[in-house]
Amino acid sequence: MERVTEVLTKSGWTPPLFKKLDLDLDIAAGRGLEEAVIQSTQIGVVNSWLRNQPGEIVSTAIASLRDALSPYVDGNSVRLPGAMWLISSEPA
């Protein structure tokens, strides 16, 4: 929060207001565990980590990912907590 405030006030904005937003996110988009695994390996940091890795390592890592997500399966959804800031400001 301090860093965001510093960036915004240095760039001509009023000190921002922060509001917490906590939501469970269905990373399967209602399409089951395998879709959650695919999404997690194609979008975001994990995708960049797995890129250019040997196939054997990728397979093992994906198997671990599937195991790690299994406890969060709820029907066709895979819901995990997400935490965000809603940030508001105005020109100073």
């Binding site: 929060m1 915004l8 194609q42 979008i43 093992t60 997400g82 965000m84």
Partner: protein
């Protein structure tokens, strides 16, 4: 640590290359996962009819299109992104829905001279600026009197198991990676650092 120019060049290459194309392929899934976030952001931003809106880092246009549905045709939305493939996806989705009040602009909001706006929104679109102070100063210059900003960004990794659980599961199979440099842009808030926790 990479310079702001190097960071921006990397971003441009990623979002116009395989990265951008993958996000287009996964657009429907991603929009579904983040639908409740979009809803919360728009409620927080409280857009009004006839406003000029700037959407920074609009990507494939999930929140942009929802915003257009909410404010109606009296408003004009400038939707900016550096990813050509994602903008094309947004444009095609708008066309399919008959939404014509969005200008899809392939431009870097950090450096482009922007049209004036009343409301700035961004859903995770401000976290990769190479030089965030310079970028937000540039965006500030186009703000009309009384303009508002409404952004959403991630809090710490520890508070985001949906990101951290897959990362931890995969990380133990990979060689150790260098720690990110302090102030480096990242998915958590405006940067990956303790100050945002």
């Amino acid at each position: 640590m990479a310079s702001p120019e190097e960071i921006n060049a990397d971003m441009l290459a990623f979002w116009n290359g395989q990265g951008g194309r993958t996000w287009v392929t996964r657009q429907k899934h991603t929009d579904t996962t983040l639908a409740s976030v979009t809803e919360a952001l728009l409620a927080f931003a409280a857009p009004r009819t006839s406003e000029l809106v700037l959407d920074v880092g609009c990507g494939c246009g999930g929140p942009t299109l929802e915003l257009a549905r909410v404010v109606g045709i009296s408003s004009r939305i400038a939707a900016l992104d550096i990813s050509g493939p994602m903008l094309v996806e947004g444009m095609e989705r708008a066309k399919a829905e008959g939404i014509s009040n969005i200008d899809w602009l392939e431009a870097d909001p950090a450096t482009t001279e922007l049209d004036n706006y009343d409301l700035l929104i961004s859903a995770f679109g401000t976290m990769f600026f190479g030089d965030p102070v310079s970028a937000f100063a540039n965006i500030r210059r186009a703000a009309n009197s009384g303009a508002r900003m409404a952004l959403v960004c991630w809090r710490s990794l520890a508070e985001n198991p949906w990101i951290e659980v897959p990362m931890n599961a995969v990380a133990r199979h990979l060689p150790p990676r260098p720690k990110p440099a302090p102030h480096a842009p990242g998915i958590v808030c405006l940067r990956r650092c303790g100050a945002c926790h």
